[in-house]
Subunit: 227 residues, 2 copies
DNA sequence: GTATGATTCAAACAACTGTTTGAAACATAC
DNA sequence: GTATGTTTCAAACAGTTGTTTGAATCATAC
């Protein structure tokens, strides 16, 4: 019984401290201190600091991605084979994440900020299982978007999806960054408003006119002249 | 004479190692090893590791922001008081950054990746002078954008600017992240193409319809019915 | 009660951290 | 040449890191 309690307390403390100071700058002594457990408890319950980090991610990420897939399933079932509205797809993917990020009490907010930062700087040993957790989800959403946007090349969609991940990451970890730079602070206290803002920005970006790419390696002339 | 060489070699090695492993995970012994200088050289030339980090940023950031202000000056002078096209403003701000990021040889690319990550996780002691370096630039570009988009509230512009910073950050540090997740790798070998992609995405986002913000602290009903 | 296994605890471990030191090597001016 | 100031170097410093250890405590079943 005490096991669960201790594990949970360590995970919660670690998640919060990792978010605040990063992995390397957070020591096991800080974690066990905040969790009010013995130092050796981390190695006893998780084996090592690296395994603890992985578990911090696994705990939330698995649920998050299951939720995303589940909602996409529901949406596609409702549509019955017809392509979805791109905005609906984005709403599922980012809506679930932002909903989690809005959960200040359960620690979801802390985790999402951590995830955003880690995603852009995957320490070698998280990269592997992060890819593992994300692979299926990314594939599903990419396929849905390609189907929803028949006119847009798949590569372009992937890039724009990538840009959107960046926007979301900053939106969540957000105010820390802009706050430091803009004195007239942005109000991020309202998750609904943030969600609405981010979503209209993303949809605008997703539906933007395609860039004029010139002189690529596989340039294809418009009209084939006689050779 | 040797001083300059040593300082420079340390800064270059530090920049590259910080980008790859982060500040905390990079040790002075790694840096001095890569730079092929004595361990004590860092403390002799920079005073401390923290000062070294600050100098790594200062070296590039000062130039980068000067460049941005300079180009904005030129643009506004040409316009002669008339509001600029929003896309032109973005082209200056992000174009300069992406040009630097495209500089693989001079180390600019490495630095921009580092900057993008640091911006979203400012260790307490970089935050201060990072804000210092950015304050003037942000203010200028914000003002220009507000002038260029008279219909859009200033707060909305700031948010969208923030989202764009996120998109750019991911675009630069980019492929590491998406690469790990999408097997059909994105080709980021062409900076021109990346620039074009990012720019049309951003402009699309910037010009997107305003979000419908409901039930804020100042909710205003559409039609006031009889009570 | 005793026995068995899981969990906690204080203490120690070796390895590594940023920093300091004092002598050596170097450059430059006289 | 000597003198002076700067830069390099190997070695050591004290402090912190993640991890291990072996005894103590707890819970549960018999």
């Amino acid at each position: 019984m005490a096991e669960v309690d201790t594990r949970q307390r360590i995970l919660d403390a670690a998640e919060s401290l990792f978010t605040e100071h990063g992995f390397d700058a957070t020591t096991l002594r800080q974690i066990t201190g905040a969790a009010e457990v013995n130092l050796a408890a981390v190695n006893y319950h998780f084996g090592s600091k690296e395994e603890l980090i992985r578990e911090v991610f696994r705990r939330r990420l698995t649920w998050l991605n299951q939720q995303r897939l589940q909602e996409l399933d529901r949406l596609e079932a409702e549509a019955g084979g017809a392509p979805l509205k791109p905005s609906r797809i984005l709403e599922v993917f980012f809506g679930v994440a932002l909903k989690m990020a809005a959960d200040t009490e359960g620690g979801g907010r802390s985790f999402m900020r951590l995830l955003g930062r880690t995603y852009s700087k995957p320490s070698e040993f998280v990269r592997g299982f992060l890819a593992e957790e994300y692979a299926a989800v990314l594939a599903r959403f990419k396929a849905a978007l390609i189907k929803a946007l028949p006119g847009v090349p798949g590569e372009e969609i992937l890039w724009r999806f990538h840009f959107m991940l960046g926007a979301m990451s900053y939106a969540i970890s957000g105010t820390d960054a802009l706050h430091m730079v803009a004195e007239d602070a942005l109000d991020d206290s309202d998750p609904e408003a943030l969600y609405a803002r981010l979503m209209s920005f993303m949809i605008g970006g997703l539906r933007a006119p395609l860039p004029k790419l010139q002189a690529g390696p596989a340039k294809r002339p418009r009209i084939k002249k006689a050779a």
